[in-house]
C-alpha cells in the first residue's frame, strides 16, 4: 500500500510526469522483490517464495499497467498462458503469473529458477527504459477506470488465477493503483466537474471496506472458496465504483 497519495498535478503533462515517477518507485520495489524471489526459488524456499510472489504481484498491480501500457516487456512480466499454443507449458509463458503457476502446482527450482531470473532481468530492463518510454496523457483517464475493470474481468472472474486464489489481494492492489492515478488527476477532474473526485472516492472507499471485511486476521481468503453471499458485497461495491469511474474518461473526451 502506498504510504500516502501523491499530490495532484496541474496539467496532464504534469500528471504523466508524476505517474512516471510513481511507477519508477514501484519498479524499484519490484526489482528488490524479484531479486528476493529469485533467491528463495534458488534455495528451494518455496513457502517463502509464495509469499514473496504475492508481494511482487501486488506491486505490479499497483503500477496500474492496464491497457498493455508497457508493451512486450509488460507482457513478459505479467503475461498469461491464454492464447499460447502450449498454454501454461508454453515457453512464451513467463513472468509473475508463470511463477504463480509453478509455485502453486508443485514446481520448484528446476522449473522456476530460469523464470525467476528472467523476471528479474525484465523488471530491471523495464525500469531502465521507463524514463524514455512514451506514456500518453490520453491514457491516463482511461487508466483511471481500466485498472478496476481489469479486476472484475481478469481477477475476480478467476481468469488470471494461476493457482493462488489471490484475486482479492490483487483487486486490493488494483484499488491502490486506481487511487494513485485519481489523486494525480484530482485537480483536472475537479476543474472539469467540481466535486467528482470526492464522489468517485466515496465509491472507492466502499470497495476498500468491502475488501477489508473479507480478510481474516490480515490474510486474504481464496476467492473461489467464498460463498456467493460473501462475494456479493465486493463485486457490488466494485460495480458501483466502476459506474462512477466510467465518466472519468468522458471528462477528457473530445467526442460524445
Amino acid at each position: 500500500m502506498p504510504d500516502s497519495l501523491p499530490a495532484p498535478a496541474p496539467t496532464m503533462d504534469g500528471v504523466v510526469a508524476a505517474y512516471r515517477n510513481y511507477v519508477s518507485g514501484q519498479l524499484d520495489t519490484l526489482t528488490g522483490q524479484a531479486l528476493s524471489l529469485k533467491a528463495s526459488i534458488g534455495n528451494n524456499s518455496l513457502e517463502v517464495a509464495r509469499r514473496q510472489w504475492l508481494d511482487a504481484q501486488m506491486t505490479w498491480q499497483r503500477v496500474g499497467a492496464a491497457y498493455g501500457s508497457f508493451g512486450d516487456l509488460g507482457s513478459a512480466i505479467n503475461g498469461l498462458p491464454s492464447g499460447l499454443p502450449k498454454g501454461s507449458a508454453d515457453p512464451g509463458f513467463t513472468g509473475l503469473h508463470r511463477l504463480e503457476y509453478g509455485l502453486f502446482h508443485g514446481q520448484g527450482p528446476a522449473e522456476l529458477a530460469a523464470v525467476a531470473s528472467k523476471l528479474y532481468a525484465d523488471v530491471v530492463e523495464l525500469h531502465g527504459k521507463l524514463p524514455t518510454m512514451e506514456l500518453a496523457g490520453s491514457d491516463m483517464p482511461l487508466r483511471c477506470h481500466e485498472i478496476l475493470e481489469d479486476s472484475l474481468r481478469d481477477n475476480l472472474s478467476g481468469n488470471n488465477d494461476q493457482g493462488s486464489g489471490m484475486a482479492l489481494a490483487l483487486t486490493s492492489a488494483d484499488l491502490d493503483g486506481t487511487r494513485v492515478v485519481l489523486a494525480l488527476m484530482r485537480t483536472l477532474v475537479d476543474t472539469l466537474s467540481p466535486g467528482y473526485t470526492a464522489k468517485v472516492t466515496a465509491t472507492l472507499d466502499r470497495l476498500g471496506n468491502a475488501l477489508a471485511r473479507t480478510q481474516d486476521q490480515g490474510t486474504w481468503p481464496a476467492w473461489r472458496t467464498l460463498p456467493l453471499a460473501a462475494r456479493q458485497p465486493v463485486t457490488g461495491a466494485l460495480g458501483a465504483a466502476l459506474e462512477s469511474l466510467a465518466y472519468v474518461p468522458a471528462l477528457f473526451s473530445t467526442d460524445d
Binding site: G68, G137, G236, A241, A246, L251
Partner: protein, 423 residues
Amino acid sequence: MTSNPTTPPRPGRRSFLIGAGSGAAVTALAATAANAAIHSSPSATPASATAPAVPFHGATQAGVYRPADQQRQACFASFRVLATTKAELKTLLQVLTAQGVKLSTGVRAADPVPAESLPAIAGGPPQNSGVLGEDVPPDSFTMTVGLAASVFDNPAFGLAGKKPKGLTEMTVFPNDTPDPAWTGGDLLLQLCADSTDMVHYALREITKATRGLLALSWKINGFHSAPRPAGTPRNLFGYKDGIANPAQDEQLVWITQGSGQPDWAVGGTFIVVRLIRMLVEFWDRVGLGEQDGMIGRHRVSGAPLGAVKETDVPDYANDPDGQNIPLDAHIRMANPRTKATDASRLLRRGYNYDLGVDLNGNMQAGLIFASFQRDIKAQFEATQLRLVNEPMTDYIEPFGGGYFIGLPGVTAANGFLGEGLFA
C-alpha cells in the same frame, strides 16, 4: 491486465482533449445518474403507437392481472439487497420505480431528455445499451417487485414490525431438491414483455441503475408459448396449462383491508416462484393415455377427460370414483372444486424455460411456476400439499424459487414501490 503476449496493445478508444481548464466538452449538472433516474416523468406518452404500453401506475402492480394477456417472454431475477441502511433501501426502491416507469413507457430518441435525467457528465457511455435500437418501445413491458422475508428480518432496515404475516422462506416439500444457487434471495423482479430483447434490455438497464445496491443471485428466462392451435398455451409436457385461473373479482389475489396484514401491504400480493424441471425425455416415453390420466385432461384439446372443450368444467361430483378423471390426476388434486377448497385457488402465471444440458446430456427444461395469492399457506401450500404424491411427481424436479411479498402498486406520480414501508 491486458497482458497476453500475443495481444497487441489496444489503440486509444477516443480522441482526447488534454489539459485542464476547458469546459467545452463538459456539461456538469448537479444530478448524478442515480438521482436523475429517480425523477423520470411518469406521465410521458408511449414511444410507439403500435406497441402497447401497460400502465405502470395503479393500486396494484402490473404483471399480475395487468395486462390481461400474459406477455410472451419473462425473466425472473432474484437479488441480494446490498443496501446497508433503511435510507439506501428506500433509494433502491425509488430507483426501481423510476426504471419501471421508464421501461413501461418506452423512450423515443427524438424526444428531449429532461435536464434532470441527463447524466452528470456528458460524453460518457451511451444513455442505454442500444439493444433495442434508438427508440425503446414499451412492448407490453411490466416489472413486478417482491421482497423476501430476509429484508424484514434484516435489522439494518428496521422493518421487523412491518413484516407480512405468513411470509417465510420457501417450504421444502417432500419431493423438492432445492439447489442453493437457484433458491431464495432478498428481492425478486419479474420482468415480462412480448420480446426477448426487451426482457434482456430491461434487466440490463435495471442492474446498471442499481449497481452497488443489488447483486444478481440467480435469474431464469422463460417463454409463454403461442396458442397451439388455439386457447391456453401449452407447457413443455404438451398440455395446456393455466386454463382455470381465478378472475380478479374473485378476490383471491390482492391483500385488502381486513386481510390481517399490515396496512402498507394493502394492494400487494404474495408471490411464489418455483423452478420445476420437467424430465421431458422420460415424459416422452410415456403413453398418451397414461399422460392424460396423470394430468386429467386430453392433450389434444385441453378439455377435462370426458369433456370436449378446454373451458368445460370437470364434473367431479358425478365422477366420485375417478372413472373419468382419476382421483390422483393433477387437475383434480390441485383443484378438487369443492366448497372447502375453493378459497385455496390461486392465480398462476407461469413460463416455460429451456436452459441447457444436464450432466448426462438430457435437456434442462421445465416450468417457472409463478403464482399470486393473498395467503401462501392457505392457497399455494394447501394446493401443493394436496399434490405431494401425485403420479406426475416422478417426472418433475422442483429445484429452486422463493416466497416474496409483491409490493402494492404506485398511484401517485411521485410515489414509489414500497413507500408504505417508510411511512
